[in-house]
Every structure is written in C-alpha cells, then in structure tokens.
C-alpha cells in the first residue's frame, strides 16, 4: 500500500521536503533538524552545505527512511515524485513499499567506502544484489550488466571478482557509485562521497557523478562541507547551520552574492589556491546579538 497524494505528478519536482523536523527521542525539545524545506528537480544537483552537526546527513537519511532508532521525524513531508505511482509521501509509507523504492528509485552513496562495503563479498556480488532484488536479473545477464556498470565507473570488469580490501579508496568509491546507479535511480543521494579521498581522485569522482547525472537525468542530493566542491558540481545550494536552513538559492546566487552572514563566513574560510585571500578562521561573531550589521553595508564593506 502506498500513500498517494493528490499532487499532480507532472508538475511536481522530483523530491520535495516540506517543513521537516527531526529530534532525538531522549531530548525531544531540541530540534536536530528544524523546519527544513527544499526541493530537487530531475537532472539537477542540489548541494547541502554545512559543518559537522548541522543536520545535513540527518536530512538525507530521513529521505531514505534510514534514521537510526533513537531519532524521530516529528513533522514534515518527504514528497517523492514517482512518475508511475504519482507523488508519495515517504514519511508515511509502510516499510514494504519503502524497500521497493530504496535502491531502485532512490539510491545512496555513503561517506566512507571502507566501512560501507561488505568485506567478505566480492564487489561484483554487491553490485549485482540490488539488480536481482529489484529487477530480477540473474545468471549471464547479471554478469554482463555488472561488467557494464564497472566499465561505466572506470574499473576493469575483471575486478568484479575482487574483494573490497583489494581495491584502493577511489576504486571502492567507484564501486559504491556503480552499486547506487545499478537500477538507474531517479534520485541519487551522495553523503560526502569524496571527503575521504585525495584531491586528484576527488576530481575524477566529481566528474563521473556529474556525467552520470546528465546521462541518466538523475536528480542528485549532494552533501558536503567544502564550498570548493559545491562550485564544481552544484546547480542549487542549500546552506544549513545548527539544523536550520540559513540560505538557499542557485549556485550563482549563493556563491557570488551570499546574503546570510554564516554563508559568507563559510565561504571566507575556504582556502584559495592562488593565495590571494588571507587564511580566515570561521567567524561566528554574527551569532552574537550585539553584533547586528546591516547586510547591505556589510556587503559593500566586503566588496
């Protein structure tokens, strides 16, 4: 049974989060995610940017219904536009229907490829698992499909027989990507997919994700703490701070004309490769109520 809504699926965005709030069951008065709303279009990348503890990973997990037991979604809707079944609210749907969507229509890439792959199964098996579960592909057809997927992410198909420990960090992350795109999901959630990787490998992975997104017309929810990565991959940007969205807009709006002092502070502390900008620690002065500045004059002062 799915909980359908009356929203017209032709005009609705791929994913719409409406006034999402998450608390820890033990401390229900503190909102870990506080009234968060944004939407993702098909074929576009929305970056959620914030420091650790800002609630960006919790937001992503709640889309998949993967919040851990001590946490609870207290309010809000997760509206997923599943073209065939109309718009469904993932926060109300039962476990069985959610399982059918997970992996098939919404897939996720986790932060640490070292810990999120099963060490005792070959990577080929792990990539094939969701294909068998969701699409019923078996035998020779499955092998061909796995080989094609590995090829797509730039790993020699012969490595299907390898175990995760025989691959480098970058290769493991590519395996994670191959797993996630196996069933051609409509929405891909990437939770800091490059944070554990070297810059050269990071650049390759970002390029790969971007080209896959375009080719498969996926919507992508990309979580990161690095504005450098945002500049490379985002179409839209959502900035989170302590569970709240402080700013949202297109990449150009947020990067070139940041309105909120936190966005500016976060942008200012990204080291630049040219060394023109002095190194700056993140500035929380704006949190202090005494320090209220007019955003307009503040912008002028910065320019």
């Amino acid at each position: 049974m799915t909980v359908k809504t009356t929203i017209d699926s032709l005009n609705a965005p791929l994913l719409q989060l409406q006034q999402l709030s998450i608390v820890a069951k033990k401390a229900p008065e503190k909102l870990l995610v506080d009234n968060v709303s944004f939407s993702i279009e098909a074929g576009k990348t929305t970056c959620v940017v914030g420091e650790s503890g800002s609630g960006k990973s919790l937001t992503a997990l709640s889309v998949m219904g993967l919040l851990s037991k001590p946490l609870q979604l207290t309010a809000g809707k997760v509206l997923f536009n599943d073209a065939e079944n109309g718009v469904v609210d993932l926060s109300l749907i039962d476990a069985e229907s959610l399982r059918k969507i997970r992996g098939a229509k919404i897939a996720m890439i986790f932060q640490e490829p070292m810990t999120s792959l099963n060490p005792v199964l070959t990577v080929g098996y792990q990539i094939g698992e969701s294909l068998t579960t969701h699409l019923g592909i078996k035998g020779a057809a499955l092998k061909t499909k796995i080989a094609a997927l590995l090829e797509m992410v730039g790993i020699p198909p012969s490595r299907a027989e390898s175990y995760p420990d025989e691959l480098s960090g970058g290769q493991r992350q590519r395996v994670m990507i191959a797993m996630s795109i196996a069933c051609e999901p409509k929405l891909l959630i990437a939770d800091e997919p490059t944070t554990a990787l070297d810059v050269t490998v990071q650049a390759q992975i970002l390029k790969l994700l971007d080209s896959l997104k375009t080719r498969m017309n996926m919507g992508m929810l990309f979580i990161t703490h690095d504005f450098g990565v945002v500049a490379d991959i985002a179409d839209n940007v959502v900035v989170m701070f302590r569970g709240k969205i402080v700013e949202a807009g297109t990449k150009a709006e947020v990067l070139e004309h940041p309105q909120h002092p936190y966005t500016r502070a976060l942008l200012a502390c990204v080291p630049d490769a040219e060394g023109k900008k002095p190194l700056q620690p993140i500035d929380y002065a704006w949190l202090n109520p005494v320090h209220i500045t007019d955003p307009v004059t503040d912008m002028k002062a910065m320019a």
Binding site: E51, T200, P271, A273
Partner: protein
C-alpha cells in the same frame, strides 16, 4: 638563507608485499626511492602527493618511527638513522609529530592532561608541579581550558582533538615538527583555525615544520617550500610561488588542476 636544521640524503625504504594466490608470492614496493630533502630552520617544507606516493612513509622514516633501508637523516650534526634506543629517545624530544587522524591517535583511556603531559614525564622535564604548569599553559595556548585536562578524548570534536594532538607535540618545545595531514580529517571551516594556530605557534616557538598534505589549497597558505612526490620519488621541488606559478612536472600540473572550485573564479570574491 638560513641554515638547514634537518637534512635527509638518499633515503630508500622498500616494503615487501604479499602477492599471488593466497599471498604465497612476494613483490617489492619502493615506498621511498632515493629521496633527499632539506628543511630550512624556521621554515615550512610541504610534502605533496597522492595516497601511496610515499609521503607518510617519508614522515615516519625521518623520525625513525620506521627503520630505513639506507640513507642518512642529519639533525644537529648527528645521523638519526644510526641511532638506537636511549640515544634516539633523547633526540626525539626535539622531533615531534602531529598525526593525521585525531580520532585514532589519542589514547581513549587517558585523560587529556595525561596525554599532553606524557612526553614531559618520559623525558623527566621538571618537577611534577612544573610539568602541570607547562601542560596548562600549552592547553591554554592551543585554545583549550584548564578544565579540559580531566576530560577524555571522546568528549571533544575533531578540531579540538587536533588541538590536543598539537599541544601534545609542542609541550616538549621541539625544534622540528612533522605534521602528517593535520587538517585533512577536519571540516573546511575548522581547517583554517588549525592552520592559523600552527602558523602562530611556528612564529612564537621558532619551529620548523614538515607538512604532509594532498591538498594544494592548504599547502599554499602554510608552506615556504614544496616537494612533490609521486610513486616514491620526488618529481619536483621549489618554492611555493614557483610551483604554483610554473609547475614543471606533468603530475604537479594534474594536482593543481584537481583543486576543487578552481574553475570558478567567482569563489575568490567571497
């Protein structure tokens, strides 16, 4: 031109790797292949390269945390590679290391005061009261409070733990500090704080740094000189300005091109 405080000549380190079915065969991996570096007194030398290029092996071999196959490491007129036991322990007081992973490099069963003070205890530097004083002063300097002494590492965030790691290394007033990717496990917003702290402490305590990193954005702000490593060899060396302006080696150019956000000049206005 200031004098060199640490010079390493022709370092070679080979690892034996299991290979073949069930690991019965062996193959040799050259982690350091005739590597020579020199660190000017009071300056920062960055060692840049991707994982597997041998930069962390270099760091460990310089401090003799791993034995070298051949080569010499000259510090204060002595060859560290020839030292053993007590002699080596004594000289380590002047050579300290800040580790990459602030979650794995602090003993979870010791409280922070013990972790930072352990070096003083080992090297018997001053009476217990003096040691206590030094620990507190160092903790204040890196932005921790006296009350933090009784806490355990798990009670701190990543950035704070890295401050503990820095305090632990610097309380001995070393001359050379090897920083092995000190900020790569931290949020970008916290990286700048730690880098600025390292820079300030370098000025105050006249430290010389060897700074290992794969992130050229970070290196740009802290280093004076750079060596670029690839597959166990140094492929390029020079001052920061030269390397960024005119990278000679193909691999250095690749590294520079991989910097996130580089294609977007818009980032600079912020």
């Amino acid at each position: 031109m200031s004098a060199d405080i640490l010079v390493a000549n022709h370092l070679v380190k080979t690892y034996t790797q299991r290979s073949g079915k069930f690991g019965f065969g062996t193959s040799l991996v050259k982690a350091l292949d005739d590597v020579s570096i020199s660190l000017r007194s009071g300056s920062t030398l960055a060692v840049v390269g991707e994982s597997g290029s041998g930069k962390s092996t270099l760091a460990r071999c310089l401090l003799q945390l791993q034995p070298l196959d051949s080569g010499e490491v000259l510090f204060a007129g002595q060859d560290l590679a020839k030292m053993r036991g007590a002699e080596l322990r004594a000289v380590r007081k002047d050579l300290q290391m800040v580790f990459q992973d602030p979650f794995a490099s602090l003993n979870p069963r010791m409280h922070v005061g013990q972790i930072i003070g352990e070096g003083l205890l080992i090297h018997a530097m001053g009476s217990p009261a003096e040691q206590q004083k030094k620990v507190i002063a160092m903790m204040r300097r890196v932005g921790l409070t006296e009350a933090d002494m009784q806490k355990y590492p798990h009670e701190f965030s990543g950035g704070q733990r890295q401050r503990i790691g820095i305090a632990r290394a610097l309380v001995l007033q070393p001359k050379v500090v090897v920083c092995d990717e000190p900020v790569s496990a931290l949020d970008v917003s916290i990286q700048a704080q730690i880098l600025l702290l390292l820079k300030d402490l370098q000025q105050e305590m006249a430290l010389s740094y060897i700074f290992i990193s794969h992130d050229l954005r970070v290196v740009r702000h802290i280093a004076d000189d750079i060596v670029v490593m690839y597959a166990g060899k140094i492929v390029e060396r020079g001052t920061v300005l030269d390397i960024y302006a005119q990278p000679q080696h193909e691999y250095t150019r690749n590294l520079l091109a991989a910097i996130p956000g580089k294609k977007q000049p818009s980032l600079e206005i912020a």
